[in-house]
């Protein structure tokens, strides 16, 4: 049998080759034979959803749907696929939930409305007329599930229907039950992510998860880290509008704060394209807080404060060069960017920019301070360029270097100071 390490390697290489279906499916079949030939029973429960995740699941290529449905699992319940309807379907669901208690794998798609006892979304009615809300269904089926997978961003984190003002009081699956939920987000979820996680669960149990209970296998690095346009970012080559080549950061790309392997995996079965390759910004659809914290989609991320520099959309390219040359940050590294950006994003880019009149005194002074810093940087920009020139040509000007050093020192002090203050407040 394929070792877990080999399996992970397969998943990481993108499942682009035939290897996953050739290796994994027979392995799963073999593993099942050893257990007596029974495929694990499988329930795909749709809640408040657009059903996009299910249609994405059907786009799986290695292994294909036929292999998944008839060699890997036993699909007992799926509102979109199953032949049974009405009371027959609900009775069957009850039968499976009871007979295979503790055995079945439950995949939930969509958010769970909780306002007014969840009356805003039903999976159907029992033959006696009793309504089954999503909330009832999730709580009921979670109890007997061996594993629970949340497919898509709605089920994992709430997603678009839980966005402000959340009219139905929708929540993510893990928020309404106590059992462990493996979150496999994406809007929609990539077929490889859900089928890969499913394979891991069948073969080896729960995969390694991050703080948001996502398999690190697929959500381990930011899009920015693996982006083929990363070089454009660092060299300051930016797209001005959708359809342009170059880094899409300035027109809203959320790649720096979005953890997924889209750049290397690509979409879909045959891995032909992905949003950045299509010259449009990543909108962070796999992230917790999508869409509110990722909106507006076509506006860039909030400014990034690094020790010694503030990176914003205007200065991103030049600052990166300057930083590298000055040796402040030898590599404009993922650790710093993700760590910092994440902190900023927790506050969220709201759907509206806050009216400046509503700022508190502290916020105003902080804003003034940061704006002052920014102005300073812009003023010093030319000076820094001079310095780079001197460094490159070997003609150093001691006065300018001295001035620059003291400037950087001041910046460091200031930004450390700001950080401390912030931490103190928290």
């Amino acid at each position: 049998m394929l070792t877990r390490r080999e399996f992970i390697k397969l998943c990481l290489t993108g499942m682009a080759s035939m290897s996953l279906s050739r290796l994994v499916v027979p392995e799963v079949a073999q593993a099942l034979l050893e257990k007596g030939g029974e495929r694990p029973p499988f329930i795909w429960l749709e809640c408040d959803t657009c059903v996009g995740d299910y249609f994405s699941f059907l786009n799986t290529l290695h292994p294909d749907v036929q292999q998944v449905l008839f060699q890997m699992i036993e699909m007992h319940y799926s509102n979109s696929l199953m032949v049974a309807e009405g009371g027959m379907a609900i009775n069957y669901l009850e039968k499976i939930a009871e007979e295979r208690y503790g055995d079945y794998i439950l995949v939930v798609e969509g958010t769970v409305p909780t306002a007014d006892n969840g009356c805003y979304s039903l999976i159907g009615h029992r033959p006696n007329g009793e309504a089954i809300t999503d909330l009832d269904a999730v709580r009921w089926l979670a109890k007997g599930a061996k594993y629970i997978l949340a497919a898509g961003t709605c089920a994992s984190f709430g997603g678009p229907y839980a966005a402000d003002p959340n009219p139905t009081g929708s929540k993510a699956v893990h928020e309404v039950i106590d059992e462990q939920v493996i979150n496999v987000p994406g809007c929609p979820v990539h077929p490889d992510w859900i089928v890969g996680t499913l394979s891991h669960v069948i073969l080896y149990g729960v995969p390694d998860l991050d703080a948001y209970n996502r398999p690190t296998l697929f959500y381990g690095q930011t899009i920015h880290d693996k982006c083929p346009r990363r070089a454009d970012f660092e060299e300051g080559v930016f797209a001005a509008k959708p359809g342009d080549s170059g880094c899409l950061y300035k027109i809203g790309c959320k790649g720096p704060v979005t953890y997924s392997d889209c750049p290397t995996r690509q979409w879909i079965g045959d891995h032909t394209n992905w949003p950045v390759e299509a010259n449009t910004p990543c909108i962070g659809c796999v992230a917790p807080g999508f869409p509110d914290r990722m909106a507006p989609f076509f506006k860039h991320l909030p400014d990034l404060v690094l020790p010694g520099a503030i990176i914003n959309a205007r200065t991103a390219g030049t600052a990166a060069i300057g930083a590298a040359v000055l040796g402040l940050v030898t590599h404009f590294g993922a650790s710093i960017i993700t760590g910092r950006f994440k902190k900023h994003m927790l506050d969220g880019t709201e759907t509206d920019e806050i009216n400046p009149d509503l700022f508190t005194v502290e916020q105003k002074s902080e804003l003034d301070e940061i704006s002052g810093l920014l102005e300073d940087i812009n003023k010093k920009h030319t000076e820094l360029e001079h310095k780079i020139h001197y460094l490159k040509t070997g003609k150093e000007n001691p006065t300018i270097i001295k001035r620059t050093r003291s400037f950087i020192g001041r910046l460091r002090k200031k930004s450390n100071h700001t950080e401390e203050e912030k931490d103190g407040e928290e």
Binding site: N79, P160, P167, P242, V276, N279
Partner: protein
């Protein structure tokens, strides 16, 4: 004495739906269609950046996301008065066309076929009704072979979409101002290569399967006709004539063709779970107040009416207006028209992809306007789809969506007139009360999509008259 049948959920469709029928002497005498879930995305749209609408409204529906992208883009371009480049119109049609093929394939094999043919004896094909399935063993085997192959084909369609859209569902390639992927010899080749396989499948498998279905179930040409007024907003904008479509818009009643006038669209809520004050003679004046305990209400879907009439919408209506199919209005006519349309669209796509001009512009830059209003009316896979947008101070003040499935699956209106599916069910015979397979056959022929149908409407001022 009348007996009641409740089917909830009606499976094999997008979203959650409930049907109740009353049967007397083996015939349906009354029917009720209920949308049993709601999300309220239109309310969520308010206060956002107008440019986000095209991506966010796609999240209404996973199977017809690109249709929402089309309508959303058209609405914003109407508001900003934008004219998009020729290449962009073609690319958007290539994206939407691919998605339409995906939808039609999945509808025919996944959603409709299991009502007529007995699948393999394992889940998800069991349990199923014990009913009269008219195909012999050999035919059934062939049908389900094609069922499996159709999964590959619809994936190929989504890959065609991905070539110009970035991902699927919920593509990035359709946006206000045009498209985002430049046509190149390489991506044209990738697209055509997949299209040829899909086209071959439609010609060699899907259409013969459809003909087999007609051969065995010809009596369904007499069953489930529904309202006689047909509505279409026009599908595939022309790249050479602005404002015109390859498949023309129109409202047709007793072969009288009228242009579509969005002013004649009304919405009623007497039997929907909203306050009575939410009804609107003008769409933009509808309001949203959930009222789940309302007496006499039975659906989260409102009742849109055209000039007070119940209409149906979908591929049959498009081909009827185009004078390409006028055999009749019935269960099988709707399914047949869908298959014929798949062939027609596949041919169109092959023609259009040759019209792309590599190197020419694909995107029209624009300055967002402070205040603006726009309407985007276009055909989705399952019928007429409308997006209404009102922008105030650079933000969305109001966003309205009326979907094809709201037209088809609507409940009764204020005058007690049943919706399209409800009408089509009245009068059909139920052979076996315990296995009422006929209901699903008729209802699914509309390609219903509950995720689209259930929407929220919010209070607003009226829009100026808009006539196509």
């Amino acid at each position: 004495m009348a007996q009641k049948i409740m089917i909830s959920p009606v499976t094999r469709l997008n979203g959650f739906w409930r049907l109740d029928v009353e049967v007397e002497n083996g015939k349906v005498i009354d029917a009720y269609s209920s949308g049993i879930y709601i999300r309220g995305l239109e309310k969520i749209m308010q206060r956002r950046d107008p440019r986000d609408a095209v991506y966010l409204t796609q999240r209404i529906c996973g199977i017809c996301s690109s249709a929402h992208a089309m309508a959303g883009s058209l609405a914003l371009e109407h508001a900003y008065n934008l004219e998009i480049p020729r290449n962009a119109v073609i690319i958007r049609n290539l994206i939407f066309g691919a998605d339409l093929l995906q939808n039609h394939l999945r509808h025919f094999y996944f959603m409709a076929l299991p009502d007529y043919a007995e699948g393999p004896d394992e889940p998800p094909f069991i349990p199923r009704y014990k009913a009269e399935y008219r195909f012999n063993k050999k035919e059934t085997e062939k049908l389900f072979q094609n069922y499996m192959e159709s999964i590959d084909m619809s994936r190929l369609c989504h890959e065609m979409l991905t070539i110009y859209g970035g991902k699927a569902p919920h593509n990035h390639g359709i946006l206000a101002g045009g498209a985002s992927v430049h046509p190149t010899a390489d991506n044209i080749r990738l697209y055509l290569f997949r299209l040829e396989q899909v086209k071959r499948f439609i010609d060699e498998k899907m259409l013969p399967d459809m003909e087999l279905l007609i051969e065995k179930y010809a009596d369904y040409f007499q069953i489930g006709s529904g309202p006689e007024t047909l509505l279409t907003y026009g599908m595939f904008p022309r790249e050479d004539k602005r404002g015109e479509f390859y498949l023309h818009p129109g409202v047709i009643s007793k072969d009288q063709l009228q242009p579509v006038n969005s002013d004649l669209i009304h919405e009623q809520v007497k039997h929907s779970w909203f306050l009575d004050t939410d009804a609107a003679t003008d769409i933009m004046q509808g309001a949203t107040n959930f009222y789940p305990d309302k007496e006499g209400a039975y659906s989260w879907i409102k009742a849109p009416r055209y000039q007070g009439q119940v209409v149906q919408t979908g591929p049959l209506c498009r081909l009827w207006v185009a004078e390409e199919y006028r055999h009749g209005i019935s269960t099988l006519d709707r399914i047949y028209a869908r298959c014929l349309e798949a062939k027609k669209v596949a041919d169109y796509l092959q023609e259009w992809v040759q019209k792309l001009e590599p190197g020419k512009p694909i995107y029209q830059e624009y300055e967002p306007l402070r205040d603006a209003k726009g309407i985007g009316l276009v055909e989705a896979m399952r019928g007429g789809l409308g997006h209404w947008i009102e922008i105030e101070d650079y933000h969305i003040k109001n966003y309205q969506v009326i979907t094809p499935s709201a037209w088809n699956m609507s409940p009764r209106d204020d005058n007690g007139l049943p919706g399209a599916v409800e009408q089509s069910l009245i009068g059909i015979s139920i052979a076996d009360f315990k296995n009422p397979i006929e209901i699903g056959r008729v209802a699914r022929s509309f390609d219903p999509c509950s995720s689209c149908a259930v929407q929220v409407y919010t209070p607003q001022e009226s829009l100026e008259q808009y006539i196509i």
